[in-house]
Amino acid sequence: MLRPDLEIIRTWIPDDTRVLDLGCGDGQLLENLRDTRNVHGYGLEIDQDNIAACFERGVNVIEQDIDEGLGNIQDKRFDYVVMTQALQAVHRPDLVLSEMLRVGREAIVTFPNFGHWKVRGYLFFKGRMPVSPTLPHQWYNTPNIHLCTVNDFEAHCRERGYRILQAMVVDRHHEIGPMTRAMPNLFGEIALFRVTR
């Protein structure tokens, strides 16, 4: 069984395409895309347990830190560049996104929505940095150093002239209820975007 957010992404990627997965984890997505969509892909990863898992799946994985850039990859080498749940953890999300759109025709990103009502309520009522199942860390040890809301991301795309081709905002079970549909920035916990330049 593919992780639910990866299952959504899988449906966004057509057959016979070239995919780069930034922070590919244990290689689930790339393995699935290879086996079900005849996708040729590479993953970038820095965790060596994950790299070992990719090796065992026969998934191409390259040890490389996204924060050090993608300068070794030529322009438009890939059809899709995917980054799941890592945008908020990189040093410069704007530069990473721009690099994704340089090396790929389209970028697919997912991130936790900091505009979710529970996050807002946590900060408003408790006056403390929000901790939740999607954001389980404390302020001092969180890898999520650049959290944003759905509206922030959309505004960033507008400023940079990126076109949003597809967007989906879901709850933490990766389902869409009527509330998330009506007010995604308030009721969505995880955002998925497909953008191009």
Binding site: Q48, I51, A53, G58, V61, E63, Q74
Partner: protein, 385 residues
């Protein structure tokens, strides 16, 4: 000497020798009319003959990669950390072939062998051999063993260069190539160190123009110096500091040129041991093979064009403190492979062990290596069943 053979060892092994009588055309324009290759095998070849793995050795390596020749051996083969039952290159699953390359001094035809033309040791008349020549001779060995395609060709350093050359020259005969602590060609600095090593041998009065066998001597000092300078490049500064620091053998200065610092003692010991076990002409040949290596040269100096010939999957690994073939050199290979759309995986192992790390028991390294080889074994068995 092992009191008993460890459970994860291939155990006692015996080398085999094969004569080849079909002439081998060499890159230098000369040819070897006949030659002998000595090799060892570990594990067993499956029915489909699909689980064979070739181990290519580095500068001073040979066919004895794993196990013991006798219970009196002080040490196992040179890559015993990686080859054996349950190890990264699992001999329960793979049929492993390790040979001594042509030009070597451990049983395969080389400068210390007898030249049939005059009944004397070849010495300096032995033709210059290259990585490509080695690969061609290894392909003949594969033919002789009935191996149509290697499950993997694996090597570290100069051995990795052979694995890469296999992938370029025999794309249909290699399923996977593992290129470890290697480079797509030597840098000027690499060549410079090799030249110092060669000059120390060539200028030794006992070298006799390479015909020292006839004078019943050998360029001992030259070999010692060559190995000392080479050995410095195999270790990292961190590892040297950790191992020796500025420790003094006698605890105080003697204000002379005898061995005082521990690092001096270590280097001299390494050099002396090496000089007793290695042929100077072979050392000269091997360093030249390194210097000449540049697969892109056949393709207008375009590495990507060279790598376009390949069809196998690649594993590339490097070590953080390796300054002989630094991680950036491995990344040149990886980046070029990605650019031409070949399947490649890459890991950089964090260690203080320098270039020698590829031979060392580093758990993170062997775990990753093992994970990759596990996949190779699964593929090979799927294909066989």
């Amino acid at each position: 000497m092992p009191d008993s053979i460890p459970a994860d060892s291939v155990g006692l092994v015996t080398p085999t020798s094969l004569q080849f009588t079909q002439p081998l055309e060499l890159e230098c324009g000369r040819r070897l009319d006949a030659y002998e290759l000595v090799y060892e095998t570990y594990g067993s070849l499956n029915k489909a003959r699909s689980n064979a793995v070739l181990i290519c050795h580095a500068l001073s390596g040979h066919h004895h990669a794993a196990g013991y020749h006798s219970m009196d051996d002080k040490r196992p083969g040179w890559w015993d950390t990686a080859i054996g039952p349950g190890k990264a290159i699992d001999t329960n699953r793979f049929f492993v072939v390790a040979l001594n390359n042509i030009g070597g001094c451990h049983g395969s035809t080389g400068p210390s062998s007898i030249n049939p033309a005059n009944g004397q040791p070849w010495g300096p008349d032995f033709p210059m051999v290259t990585v490509r020549d080695w690969v061609n001779s290894q392909a003949r060995l594969a033919d002789a063993l009935g191996i149509e395609q290697w499950a993997a060709v694996i090597g570290g350093s100069l051995g990795g260069m052979q694995a890469l050359q296999w992938a370029i020259d025999y794309p249909d005969r290699v399923r996977h190539a593992a290129v470890i602590a290697s480079a797509p060609k030597l840098s000027a600095q690499n060549i410079a160190f090799n030249e110092v090593a060669r000059q120390s041998i060539l200028t030794d009065p006992h070298f006799h123009g390479g015909r020292y066998y006839l004078h019943d001597t050998y360029p001992r000092q030259g070999l010692i110096l060559a190995r000392m300078v080479g050995h410095i490049t195999y270790l990292s500064e961190d590892a040297m500091r950790a191992k020796f620091g500025r420790d003094l053998r006698a605890g105080k200065f003697h204000f002379g040129f005898d061995v005082e610092f521990q690092v001096e003692s270590y280097l001299r010991h390494q050099g002396e041991t090496f000089s007793r076990n290695f042929d100077a002409n072979t050392y000269l040949l091997m360093t030249k093979a390194l210097d000449y290596y540049d697969p892109a040269r056949d393709f207008d100096n375009d590495l990507e064009a060279a790598l376009k010939q390949t069809r196998c999957r690649f594993l590339v690994m490097s070590f953080t403190t390796d300054w002989r073939f630094a991680p950036q050199r491995s990344e040149e290979i990886v980046n070029a492979l990605v650019r031409v759309g070949r399947n490649v995986s890459y890991a950089e192992i964090d260690t203080d062990k320098g270039h020698d790390a590829f031979l060392v028991d580093i758990p993170e390294y062997l775990k990753l290596f093992g994970a990759y080889m596990h996949r190779v074994a699964v593929e090979v068995n799927d294909a066989a069943s």
